[in-house]
């Protein structure tokens, strides 16, 4: 699988958190490219709602680390205009739920300008926003909205699952000449892992195969990657061996890597936090069912997704609303046992 052997320059690594990895990517991008600047609510002295930009104001000043009023549509629009005029803005939206406020600028402007103008202009910008549940923030602060953006031609959509991917994919997103929606996960900010010290870019559109196994393929994104890997460990103890693939970017999507894994394992479990109906993994199911990989299937494709409910506040309900490790284990086991 080409995707696993992503080219990279030799580089030292250090262990740091997902939030730190993002911060480092921002800092390195700002250091090497004057056009890069940040804007968003409370990203300055407050360091952002989740502390991601802590310290950047001191390093880069208030012009390039620009606190804004609470005006998501205006902020994203300002990024679109700045990008059109030669800058490389990186917008932070405090919770991905508030992209709802800015959908016009994201979808009707940023995504379409390059095409609508016949290629005469482009909109190189990144919109960073945390999604997901698990912090008791309830229905308006816990959504996983990647499917909306993946459905919009002209956008790229990134969902980093590890600190290293967060850094490498964010650097690539900032370099990219297109609008990129970069969806972080609140629960991952404190997770840690090895991260290259140098500004090493990852490729947008290359999946990462985290683990190889012949019994089934699990495709998972964002926080579900780590949960799937934990589940895979448990399953392995039972003699069930899973391949675990993280697409990392759902647009562009590395279909080849997913299809190859499905062809090899014959079983597919799709895991996402977003509600089942109309979620992005349905697209993956449709891709598999739409080509000859279908014939490799020895069991129906299993989707394990968030329930079709708004995320509730109560911790026990919130947990039950989205897949947890035992749910993944159970679904995988059933998938393997039934067929």
């Amino acid at each position: 699988m080409a995707s696993t052997t992503i080219e990279r320059t030799a580089s030292d690594t250090r262990t740091c958190s997902y939030a730190e990895a993002i911060r480092e990517a921002l800092a390195q991008a700002m250091e090497s490219d004057e056009r890069v600047f940040l804007l968003g609510e409370d990203i300055g002295v407050y360091g952002g709602a989740f502390g991601v930009t802590t310290g950047l104001l001191e390093r880069f000043g208030a012009e390039r680390v620009r606190d804004t009023p609470i005006s998501e549509l205006g902020i994203v629009g300002a990024a679109v205009g700045a990008a059109l005029a030669g800058m490389r803005p990186v917008v932070e939206i405090q919770f991905s739920d508030f992209t709802a406020q800015a959908m016009d600028q994201i979808v009707n402007q940023a995504a379409k300008i390059h095409y609508m103008l016949g290629g005469a202009a482009s909109v190189p910008m990144v919109l960073r926003a945390p999604g997901g549940s698990g912090t008791g923030a309830a229905a308006q602060h816990s959504q996983s909205l990647e499917a909306w953006f993946a459905h919009v031609p002209g956008l790229k959509v990134v969902l980093p699952a590890t600190p290293a991917d967060a850094k490498g994919l964010l650097l690539a997103a900032i370099d990219d000449p297109n609008p990129v929606i970069f969806l972080e996960h609140k629960l991952l900010y404190k997770s840690s892992g090895p991260v290259p010290t140098e500004p090493v870019r990852e490729t947008l559109g290359a999946a990462r195969v985290h683990r190889d196994g012949d019994d089934l393929t699990i495709v998972a994104t964002s926080v579900m990657v780590e949960r799937s890997l934990q589940a895979a460990d448990e399953l392995a103890a039972d003699g069930i061996h899973a391949t675990v693939v993280d697409p990392r970017t759902i647009k562009p999507l590395d279909a080849a890597t997913i299809l190859a894994a499905v062809r090899r394992t014959g079983r597919l479990l799709l895991v996402q936090e977003a509600p089942l109906t109309g979620g992005f993994v349905s697209e993956i199911a449709a891709l598999v069912a739409g080509c000859d990989a279908l014939y490799s299937l020895v069991a129906p494709i299993r989707r394990l997704c968030g329930l079709d409910v708004p995320i509730p506040y109560a911790p026990q309900l919130e947990r039950a609303a989205v897949p947890q490790v035992p749910d993944i284990v159970k679904a995988a086991r059933e998938l393997v046992m039934e067929s």
């Binding site: 609510e41 407050y46 609470i70 508030f98 008791g136 309830a138 506040y313 109560a314 309900l317 947990r319």
Partner: protein, 323 residues
């Protein structure tokens, strides 16, 4: 002249009891949160009690409000049941939202509170719609919409206030200017000294009051409510106040000084009103003390009963997605 709250025993009692209940309720929430007994996040309005209380005192029971993420005060001032509020924060089945909403979504529709809102400015258009419904239904009800200084820079604010203005809807816009939207001071978020100056952009009256002076808040609300009921349209009230606590649990207060916070604590709206009540001779110290302690007791009781209630039920997780 409107009624002097500090001179009317009934109103003075309600005002004091409500403010103390808000204060004690939120202190309890702060404490429960710190002890890990409340999940999620919360936004405390300690220091802002006179605004919620003064506005709601000027409303009739069947008038409506929309509230914000910092909504405990509004909810209590509109007459909510403390036990059901606390049960909601404790994620209990008996909570106002059956544990599904938490602090940011408590509503008490029966008492006219259409809901807190996790979205900054999210409630403002909703208030305008509720006002439109009153007009279409031919009621005399008024809708008060609470929101922060930060909310006044959202597009939702602009569109909604304009709709209420052109349609003369019975809405009172109450901007609780506590001088920060999270870490953003109004001095940086606005190029105007008073947010109430924005009212003129919609052709409606706008006033700024000392939001820590319950009488001032009450007086302006009475005027606004009268206008609204008379079909003369909306009013914009800016109430200058201050939140003593951080924005939410994650706040390190790096954007303001300890001195500033202390300075504002010295303008405690409750202390000021107690002094006025005592000076007016309406209640003496010990009567005030009684009001204070019953507020504390009511909150304690509510906590105890809420704690004893059953937890929200995961097996009913899929209920009520659709009506």
């Amino acid at each position: 002249m409107t009624t002097k709250l500090c001179q009317e025993p009934e109103l003075a009692r309600r005002a004091l009891a409500t403010m103390w209940t808000i204060r004690r309720f939120e202190e309890a929430v702060d404490d429960l949160f710190a002890r890990g007994l409340i999940y999620g996040t919360m936004h405390l309005s300690i220091g802002q009690e006179a605004t919620a209380t003064g506005v709601c005192l000027a409303l009739a029971d069947d008038d409506l409000i929309t509230s914000t993420h910092r909504g405990h005060g509004h909810c209590i001032a509109k007459g909510a049941d403390l036990e059901r509020m606390m049960a909601e924060l404790l994620a209990k089945e008996t909570g106002y939202c059956r544990g599904r909403g938490g602090s940011m979504h408590i509503a008490d529709v029966a008492r006219g509170n259409l809901g807190a809102n996790g979205i900054v400015a999210g409630g403002i258009p909703i208030a305008v719609g509720a006002g439109l419904a009153q007009r279409l239904q031919g009621t005399r009800r008024v809708v008060a919409s609470f929101f922060g200084d930060g909310a006044a820079n959202e597009g939702a604010f602009h569109e909604a206030v304009n709709l209420a203005a052109i349609w003369d809807l019975p809405v009172v816009f109450v901007c609780e200017n506590n001088q920060y939207g999270m870490s953003m001071p109004t001095s940086r978020a606005f190029r105007i000294p008073r947010i109430s100056q924005r009212a003129a952009a919609y052709g409606i009256p706008g006033v700024t009051v000392d939001g820590n002076d319950i009488q001032a808040v009450y007086d302006e609300t009475v005027v606004a409510v009268e206008r609204a009921r008379a079909g003369e349209g909306p009013t914009f009230i800016e109430a200058i106040t201050y939140r003593w606590k951080g924005h939410s649990k994650s706040d390190k207060n790096l954007y303001r000084t300890r001195e500033e916070i202390e300075e504002w604590k010295s303008r405690d709206p409750i202390g000021r009103f107690e002094a006025a009540v005592e000076a007016a001779g309406t209640f003496n110290r010990s009567e005030i003390e009684t009001i204070r302690s019953s507020a504390r007791d009511a909150v304690r009781d509510a906590i105890a009963r809420a704690h004893a209630a059953p937890d929200a039920r995961p097996d009913e997780l899929r209920d009520a997605v659709y009506a």
